[in-house]
């Protein structure tokens, strides 16, 4: 950390006490979910966790290539009939699919390793060698049964596995806070003094977004990817605002980091690079253009060379990358229909704004329509007052194009993987940017109207989140 960084953080909160209020409530809500969510209840949490655990234990990245050979025999020997649990002691079996985990607990080995490298360093100090995985599935799906925290013996069996999982989950909150702060800083850059006092409460629309709280409560790489993507956007905005060349380089760097965290943010690299080029062309900096072009060319060659030299790469390409591309093209040719596409985009959007993940909290419809109304109205206001942003045309064009490109990139991905309710995570960065535009719209409201609106919205978001947390801990809708 640089000298004076503490002062930088302190300054943000000193001037914007309302932001601190939002973050404190956000932390309380997230901690509530983190502590009460039974370990591995989230759909793909075990896959993410095992990836990080593998690196921390063996100090290397797992290969995508390992296939189960005699898994059934292994399970037969090691399964505990009473608890329906299996001890995985052996490296060879660590990534095999478990019998009850098909589809739900899928392996996450196809992801790029950056997030897991960071996570492995967090869990390394615990020095845990063997993990225990219990099947929570039947307990929490049964109708009429309260959530597993009440029924299970998680607190009694404070096993090392749970310690590791909780520490990783708590780390997710930091990524979440990062997103809130960078969103705040981007809006502040665009609007200047308009975002102060009660207007800051508009940021609570993102901070208490159900999908956002959900992503902050379990181990996943979507959230850090969205954070790094947002930082890349932040530096691009800074590039237009401050006109310093190194912001462009930083933007490209964070776009690369984002795509190293999750591949669906690969689109951020061309966005950052093209933005930088456009800025250089607009500023007529010929020398820098040539320099950047040659660096990019060399970088691309170096990356491809390293990638093909690695033993992993061939299996990765064969098993994941090529099938995805081939599958996408084939599915597009054979099964694509506009109706299905529209339905999937709508579902993805719905899930990204109002889906409490796997949690069974029946406010989806109500929250969804409220958020939909919030976004539509905000964007209406934004366009009706677009002249007030005349100094920031370039930035707003950049943000809009980024949103559109992420949606297009997501569409290709969606054609391959098909209809799913949890797709919202994939376009989460675009959703944050859509909210950003809506918030910019609301900042143009008249003073008295804005005051009532901001306080009302903030208290409502807090109320509904506290209610959902209460329901999740003490009630059950099954």
């Amino acid at each position: 950390m640089r000298e004076g960084d503490e002062k930088f953080v302190y300054n943000i909160f000193k001037r914007n006490i309302n932001l601190l209020v939002i973050i404190i409530i956000f932390i309380i809500i997230c901690c509530g979910y983190i502590i009460t969510l039974p370990v591995f209840e989230a759909p793909d949490e075990p896959g993410h966790f095992l990836y990080a655990f593998y690196i921390s234990k063996y100090n290397r990245i797992p290969s995508y290539y390992e296939e189960p050979v005699s898994e059934i025999d292994y399970i037969k020997e090691n399964i505990d009939k009473d608890t329906n649990a299996v001890f995985y002691m052996d490296e060879k079996y660590m990534f095999y699919k478990w019998p009850w985990t098909n589809n739900r607990y899928s392996s996450q080995r196809h992801h790029p390793p950056l997030y897991y490298l960071i996570s492995s360093q967090i869990i390394k100090p615990f020095k845990v060698n063997d993990i225990y995985i219990e099947d929570n599935y039947e307990n929490f799906r049964e109708p009429g049964v309260y959530n597993s925290f009440i029924n299970n013996k998680i607190l009694e069996d404070w096993s090392p596995t749970i310690k590791l999982v909780l520490s990783l989950r708590l780390f997710q909150i930091l990524y979440g806070i990062g997103i809130i702060i960078f969103l705040f800083k981007i809006i502040k850059l665009i609007t200047g003094d308009k975002l102060k006092d009660n207007s800051i409460f508009l940021i609570s629309s993102v901070a208490f977004l159900p999908q956002f709280v959900f992503l902050c409560s379990y181990i996943n790489n979507d959230l850090p990817a969205a954070l790094f993507g947002l930082i890349s956007v932040y530096f691009s905005v800074l590039l237009f605002k401050r006109e310093k060349i190194y912001f462009g380089v930083l933007s490209i760097l964070f776009a690369i980091i984002a795509s190293l965290t999750k591949l669906n943010l690969l689109i951020m690299i061309p966005i950052a690079v093209v933005t930088f080029f456009v800025w250089l062309i607009l500023e007529k900096k010929t020398l820098q253009i040539l320099l950047l072009f040659s660096i990019l060319l060399l970088g691309a060659v170096a990356i491809f060379y390293i990638f093909f030299r690695l033993e992993l790469s061939s299996t990765y390409f064969e098993k994941y990358f090529i099938p995805v591309i081939r599958g996408t093209i084939l599915k597009f040719r054979d099964n694509f229909s506009l109706d299905r596409y529209k339905a999937s985009v709508l579902i993805a959007f719905k899930s990204s704004v109002a889906f409490f993940g796997w949690m069974n909290i029946p406010v989806h419809n109500f929250v969804y329509y409220f958020y939909l109304a919030f976004i539509i109205s905000g964007i209406l206001l934004f366009f009706s007052n677009v002249k007030k942003f005349r100094n920031n045309y370039k930035i707003l064009a950049f943000i809009s194009v980024t949103i559109v490109l992420i949606f297009i990139f997501f569409s290709v991905y969606m054609v391959y993987s098909g209809y799913t309710q949890h797709m919202g995570r994939v376009i989460f960065l675009a959703v944050i940017l859509v909210f950003l535009l809506a918030i910019l719209g609301y900042l143009n409201l008249k003073n008295s109207f804005r005051r009532l609106f901001c306080y009302g919205i903030f208290s409502y978001f807090v109320l509904i989140n506290l209610f959902c947390l209460y329901n999740y801990i003490f009630k059950s809708y099954y």
Binding site: I72, K76, K97, P99, W100, T101, N102, N103, R104, Y137, E138, R141, E142, P143, G144, W358, N360, I361, P362, V363, H364, N365, F366, Y368, Y369, F370, L372, A373, F374, I376, S377, G378, L380, L381, S384, Q421, L445, S448, F449, L452, F453, G456, Y460, L463, I464, F467, Y477, Y478
Partner: protein, 292 residues
């Protein structure tokens, strides 16, 4: 602060409570009704409120208060487990919210240009026009027949969800559930206590795989906040299924008796959920007309 000085404005409170009351009445009566998906009824009602507010000289600021009260009421509905009401209210909320800000933009940019004397006339005319449209819609269109016709012809295939997971060639770990809802037929009419029956098997090769529960939900799927009705009795003898799929699947029938006698007549959607031991929940949608 003129806008905040609402204590003196008794007129506003009277109008506010009258509309809120009517709004809740609509929510209450139409939540169970088959007209629920007629979005224009909600939209028209919001438009009537808005034009009436403007006619009486209230601004978008007042309408914002109205929306916040809708938000709180929606939350109360959820807290007291009346999800169906909150779902209905959410449509009102969507239209009100968007129209509020359209009104705001209108007030800021256009209203100033219209002379004061004309304004009242315009708003009164709008109230009359919207009310006439409502009367026309309610009087002329026979909803139940239209709805039945639409459901039984155009939407039938679209609405009936058919997902049967297929096994891959090496598919030991793939879900292979076969499900059938034999009675009642989709879009049929039922009354009082009726019988839902059929069979379900999990053909996965994995040892111990089975279907360990069949549940009936109303209004929506379990993950989307459907109402749990009851657990079906699973394990009935089905020789016909056993003949085709093997003797080990002979006890695969399920039966549930659902009591709808206390419900209003109307169109209901049931979700029959099948829980496989290893592969999660599959469900079938069953849409029925209840006529007691």
């Amino acid at each position: 602060m003129d806008e905040l000085n609402i204590r003196k404005n008794l007129r506003f409170f009277i109008v506010y409570f009258i509309f809120l009351f009517i709004n809740l009445l609509i929510v209450y009566f139409y939540s169970f009704n088959i007209y629920t998906q007629k979005f224009y009824i909600d939209l028209l009602f919001v438009l009537i409120i808005l034009s009436f507010f403007k006619f009486l000289g209230f601004s978008s600021f007042h309408f914002l208060l109205y929306i916040f009260s809708l938000l709180v009421i929606g939350l109360l509905f959820i807290i007291f487990r009346r999800v169906i009401f909150s779902n209905k209210l959410s449509y009102f909320l969507l239209y009100s919210f968007v129209l509020l800000f359209l009104l705001y933009i209108y007030e800021e940019k256009i209203e100033i240009k219209i002379p004061d004397k004309r304004r009242k006339k315009v708003y009164l005319n709008l109230v009359v026009v919207f009310s006439l449209i409502v009367i026309f819609v309610f009087g002329i269109v026979n909803f139940s027949e239209t709805k039945l016709l639409v459901y039984s012809t155009f939407l039938k295939d679209k609405y009936f969800r058919e997902i049967t997971p297929t096994a891959r060639e090496d598919g030991i770990y793939e879900s292979d559930m076969l499900i059938s809802v034999d009675i009642p037929k989709n879009y049929s009419t039922v009354s009082g206590v009726f019988h839902i029956g059929g069979w379900a098997i999990d053909r996965c090769k994995l040892e111990g795989s089975k279907i360990d529960g069949v549940f009936v939900y109303l209004y929506s799927s379990p993950l989307s906040g459907g109402k749990f009705i009851k657990r079906a009795i699973y394990g009935g003898r089905r020789e016909d299924v056993a003949k085709i799929y093997g003797e080990k699947f002979v006890n695969c029938g399920y039966d549930a008796w659902v009591d709808m006698s206390s419900f209003d007549n109307g169109f209901y959607t049931f979700y029959i959920c099948f829980h496989s031991r290893y592969f999660g929940v599959e469900y079938r949608k069953l849409e029925l007309f209840v006529k007691n």
